[in-house]
């Protein structure tokens, strides 16, 4: 039974799940959802995600939404194939992975999302990026990345010396950030920069990156 992922390859949250699917080698089908036509707000899609957002995932009779619960499910189900992204065999390592997954969700994401929105979504809607919003959130993101810089000075990846779902969850948003002037937030921090270069050169991510075409003409 193949997993069905409903979303768009260029969308950051869909790409989060795609990265995990490729990393674990899980078989799946990407089913495009037409956002421009409002397909994500129609009853058929709302039945999969009552919040009317992409992505959604189906595996037989299981339907999931929220990208991070989807990636966690995929990582647990396919943990044999690509190594264990959740470190389930060791409860303390698993707790550290979970901690840095929370950091991505609660600290990193709220700071980077508005920057991404201004650079990529606002222009699509015919507007211009709001520099004040970008500056304010760049400052917040900088403080978060200062914590990462310190942590990555003592461990190779966020949760420890092993690549985990905590690192993977950052991929799509940073990829888009690197194409904007705000890339300097990453480039100015040597450990963060080295970590980014490492995780973004993983073969599984390169497959996802080819779909991240927002902003390209």
């Amino acid at each position: 039974m193949t997993i069905k992922l409903y979303g768009a390859a260029m969308s950051t949250c869909t790409a989060r799940v795609l990265a995990c699917l490729h990393e674990t080698g899980a078989e799946f089908e990407l089913v495009p959802v037409n956002l421009l036509n409002g397909e994500h707000k129609q009853p058929a899609f709302l039945a999969k995600n009552p919040f009317g957002q992409i992505p959604a995932l189906e595996d037989g009779d299981l339907t999931l939404f929220e990208s991070r619960s989807m990636s966690t499910y995929v990582a647990e189900k396919f943990k044999g194939s690509g190594g264990d992204l959740l470190r389930a065999q060791n409860l303390k390592e698993a707790a550290l992975v979970k901690t840095w997954m929370e950091v991505e969700s609660q600290q990193f994401s709220p700071a980077i999302s508005p920057i991404f929105y201004q650079f990529y979504i606002v222009p699509m809607q015919g507007g211009s990026p709001n520099q004040a919003i970008i500056d304010e959130n760049s400052e917040k993101l900088g403080k978060v990345l200062d914590v990462y810089e310190k942590k990555l000075g003592s461990t190779k990846y966020l949760a420890g010396d092993f690549y985990s779902l905590a690192d993977l969850h950052h991929l799509s948003y940073i990829y888009y950030l690197m194409k904007t002037p705000s890339a300097k937030l990453i480039n100015e921090r040597p450990h963060v920069k080295a970590w980014w270069e490492d995780i973004s050169s993983r073969p599984a991510f390169e497959k996802v990156a080819s779909g991240l075409i927002l902003g390209e003409k």
Binding site: P50, Y73, K98, T99, S105, Q107, V147, K151
Partner: protein, 215 residues
């Protein structure tokens, strides 16, 4: 047995989230107050426990964690045989339901309810003025989330399944906060949500957290 220390502030919803979990699991712990008014959460000592300078932080011997939802997950897994069963053991599909509703709390419920709690509860408490347009905006957002909950609770008694889990527990601090404000009507006007709120806030473990605040 290593001593468990929960560092935080009784006013902090994130700290209360961890305390609720510790009481549900009937695990012995020491509460270590962090004096945020004096900036203790930004001291070098505390930053070694939580590099983001936020509460709570968790220690069990020399094992250290931060982020309240990572802490609750660790406690629920490590002490799975004690106290209330807060997880949803079983197949990957079964466990995924718990994961999903924990994500919903964190990403849909928490942002709107936290902002609303800040405007309607904390600002008056600290002598600041509520921004009514921010309050209205977040009330509208929270209402949409609670509509989804109302539909969900027709299918199962609690959010993830028919028994109380971490997914429900994680909501307690923000719900309790909002029950003391005009936003209470958002819960009262939805019968299934209202019943669920009444049920989870009446749990003895949660009453113990509230009792700590009264001392």
């Amino acid at each position: 047995m290593a001593v468990i220390k929960a560092h935080g502030s009784l006013l902090s919803t994130a700290t209360q989230r961890v305390l609720a979990c510790l009481y549900e699991k009937e695990v012995e712990f020491q509460f270590v107050p962090v004096n945020m008014g004096a900036g203790e959460h930004k001291s070098e000592n505390y930053l070694s426990l939580n590099p983001f300078g936020q509460v709570p932080a968790f220690e069990e011997g020399d094992f250290n964690l931060f982020e309240s939802r990572a802490i609750t997950q660790y406690i629920a897994n490590e002490y799975t045989e004690k106290g209330t069963q807060l997880l949803l053991p079983g197949s990957n599909k079964t466990m995924a339901a718990l994961q999903l509703w924990k994500e919903v709390e964190a990403l849909q419920f928490d942002p709107a309810s936290s902002k609303l709690a800040w405007e309607l509860f904390y600002k008056p408490f600290f002598g600041l003025t509520t921004d009514t347009s921010v309050a209205e905006e977040n009330e509208a957002k929270l209402a949409k989330v609670l509509d989804v909950y109302e539909t969900r609770l027709a299918k199962s008694k609690y959010l993830a399944c028919d028994y109380f889990t971490l997914a429900d527990l994680h909501h307690l601090p923000n719900i309790q906060c909002l029950l003391g404000t005009p936003a209470k009507k958002l819960f009262d006007s939805r019968p299934l949500v209202s019943a669920w709120v009444a049920d989870i806030t009446a749990r003895p473990a949660w009453s113990k957290v509230l009792a700590m605040q009264k001392k």
